[in-house]
Amino acid sequence: MKNLNRRDFFKTAALGATIATLGASSVKGAEKILSENRIGILVDTDVCVGCRHCEWACRTAHNLPTPDLETYSDNSVFIEYRRPDATALTVVNEFENDNNSLLPIHVKTQCMHCERPACVSACIVGALTKGEDGSVIWDTNKCIGCRYCMVACQFQIPTYDYDRSIDPQIRKCDLCHDRRTSGKLPACVEICPNEALLFGKRSEVLRVAKNRIKRKSDVYIDHIYGEQEIGGTSWMYIAGKNFEKLKLPPLGNSPAPGISESIQHGIFAYFVPPVTLYALLGTMMWLTKRRNKDNDDNENVDVKKDGKGEKS
């Protein structure tokens, strides 16, 4: 009996080792290196006039129902602060301009496409992926609808179809993945009549942003929102007003998934801690078993005999 136990135990340990190597390789695959040429988009809130053509173009490009383009000139929507939802991947909001009350500030909101996205780290099935080009894309064929990406996202961007029971979608900006594969610009960038959106290589876009701030230091505050925020984002903003007042959340510079991932990898660390715990408990079980062996045997016999006696 003792020998058999031990042999089984070694089998289990061998199995544990196999699982450990499998696990290790899957963790390594998750770290992707971003391309030097990855995308950056600058939103110049000083240039944006709030025409909301980008909202229309975005809906059209993503086959979402939309009213006619003319209706978008209606400024009454600015009364309430709006967020992206299942019907709109991007929205423009209006804020007061402290320097000139006749020229309000407009801020476009959409997925920021973080350099180190929390949603990609969080997604239980890896339905969200960070592309080499910097875009964060959602895969409908994998998603189970758990909404953990929404819990994880610091910008509260992913939205969910609460009214659908079959195939509810997680929706967010995908940087017009389909359009870009056929060589076109993202719909919002293409339609913007004032060139408030600058699309290009992230490093190049950053250089332009810094230049603009330097040239018009009386207009802009010296901060590019998204350059450093939670490890950097693909969409970046420059403005003449504190970003928190423009409802861009004040976030630190450390990547959003950082702590969570290091805890996770600490607990697992190539499956060493769980396997060690298993071995430790096994040893403890074996040692205490030997100590209690006599007691145990007596008790078993007792129960069996009585169990039979009860049957009728």
């Binding site: 089984d8 696990g23 929390a118 953990y148 969910y160 009214d163 029971s165 959003a256 607990i267 129960v303």
Partner: protein, 412 residues
């Protein structure tokens, strides 16, 4: 003292109330599956997780912790005198995790893809780890329960006439299972404890990624440790609570000797949890958020008070030796852990864009209560069929005679 199927009538006024609560929950469930989450819940894009994740999943997993703490005590440390509580705790864990898995299916948008994590892996995701561990652990729990099934039916397979030719083969299968399981059970028992420590802690890691959206009183990198410690702390109180309720409901003498000894172990564990929790608050200097005394702070104070009062109660021998004292003290720990999970997943979640604070809808509450009612009903059914609850032999015989007599009486 042997585990034996409980002999008692199934329907009592309490059971009928439970059935009504369960049916009410099922009605709302039907709406959820036909019309989507929005039709039943108050969830929105700001608050994607609500009552079903906070209570059904997070608190459910914690309250099922009795399964692994009792397995560690009874099987791994071989404390034989605790064997009487291992089976009820195992059943609670088994049904508890089944309930959690069901709750997950209800909450996730694409319930028919629940199996995706099995083949689509993301090693960075805490949720992935929780999901995989829960799935494996649930399987382990069912395997651990198998010997109880073989014990009940070995040599006693008696199917109705037209299926009676299956009696022998089924008996053979049971005997084969029984002999195999006896040799390999230790593998599953240890695996169960390891899997539990893993996912109980990872459940805490879940909310770490919410970052600044979590209130600083709860957001801490030691969340996994706190979750693990509180799960261990609630294990024994949950066993005590259930055992006392079952004894009362089935009119069985409570196992006070074992329960008191279990109770004596609770104070040190709760003490360790409190030490880490309070230490964390002082190290991160978040106690200043308590002094604001807003609604969130009061929720924190309530949670901590439950643990502290329970800790003090469990220190007293007088309390742990009386059924009522033990029951109340255990209830406090259970309430504390439940409130802790609700606080972590719901109260502490403060999104930056939060036009309306979340409060669960009537439908959400109905479904949660309905599931709990269903769980209790299944538990009652299982202990009446399988030898789970340990009973005094002479009481058992007396009860069987009583039932026979009343049956004979009703025919007159």
């Amino acid at each position: 003292m042997i585990p034996w199927p409980v002999k008692y009538r199934f329907f009592t006024p309490g059971v009928i109330i439970l059935i009504i609560i369960a049916l009410n929950g099922l009605a709302f469930l039907a709406v959820r599956f036909f019309s989507g989450l929005g039709a039943v819940t108050n969830l929105d894009n700001n608050t994607p997780w609500g009552l079903w994740i906070g209570v059904d999943v997070a608190a459910g997993v914690a309250l099922a912790a009795g399964g692994f703490t009792s397995a560690a005590l009874g099987h791994i440390m071989h404390r034989e005198h605790y064997h009487a509580i291992v089976r009820p705790a195992l059943l609670t864990a088994m049904l508890g995790y089944t309930f959690v898995a069901f709750a997950v299916c209800v909450d996730i948008g694409r319930f028919y893809y629940i199996w995706h994590p099995l083949i689509m892996w993301n090693g960075n995701s805490a949720l992935f780890e929780v999901g995989i561990c829960v799935m494996i652990y649930m399987t382990v729990l069912y395997i651990e329960f198998l010997p109880i099934v073989t014990e009940r039916f070995m040599g006693r397979v008696d199917l109705p006439e037209f299926l009676s030719f299956l009696n022998k083969p089924i008996d053979k299968v049971l005997r084969y299972l029984d002999s195999r399981l006896k040799l390999t059970m230790f593998v599953f028992i240890i695996a169960g404890v390891v899997l539990s420590t893993l996912h109980q802690s990872s459940l805490g890691t879940l909310m770490v990624i919410a970052g600044q959206k979590m209130h600083p009183l709860w957001q801490t990198p030691v969340l996994p440790l706190l979750f693990l410690l509180s799960a261990i702390a609630v294990g024994f109180p949950m066993i005590i609570f259930e055992s006392l309720i079952a004894s009362r409901s089935f009119k069985i003498k409570p196992e006070m000797k074992i329960l008191s000894r279990l109770g004596a172990m609770v104070a040190p564990i709760v003490g360790i949890y409190l030490a880490v929790k309070i230490g964390d608050i002082f190290i991160r200097e978040t106690f200043k958020y308590i002094l604001i005394f807003d609604a969130t702070a009061w929720m924190f104070i309530a949670e901590m008070s439950l643990f502290i009062i329970a800790f003090i109660l469990f220190l007293s021998k007088k309390i742990t030796n009386s059924p009522l004292g033990l029951f109340s003290a255990s209830l406090l720990v259970i309430a504390g852990v439940m409130l802790n999970r609700v606080n972590n997943f719901i109260v502490a979640y403060k999104p930056f864009f939060n036009p309306s604070a979340y409060f669960p809808s009537f439908g959400e509450i109905s479904v949660t209560l309905g599931c709990i009612a269903l769980l209790v009903l299944v538990y009652r059914t299982v202990v009446m069929i399988f030898p789970v609850i340990t009973q005094e032999r002479k009481d058992l015989v007396k009860k069987i005679i009583e039932i026979e007599n009343s049956r004979a009486g009703s025919f007159k």
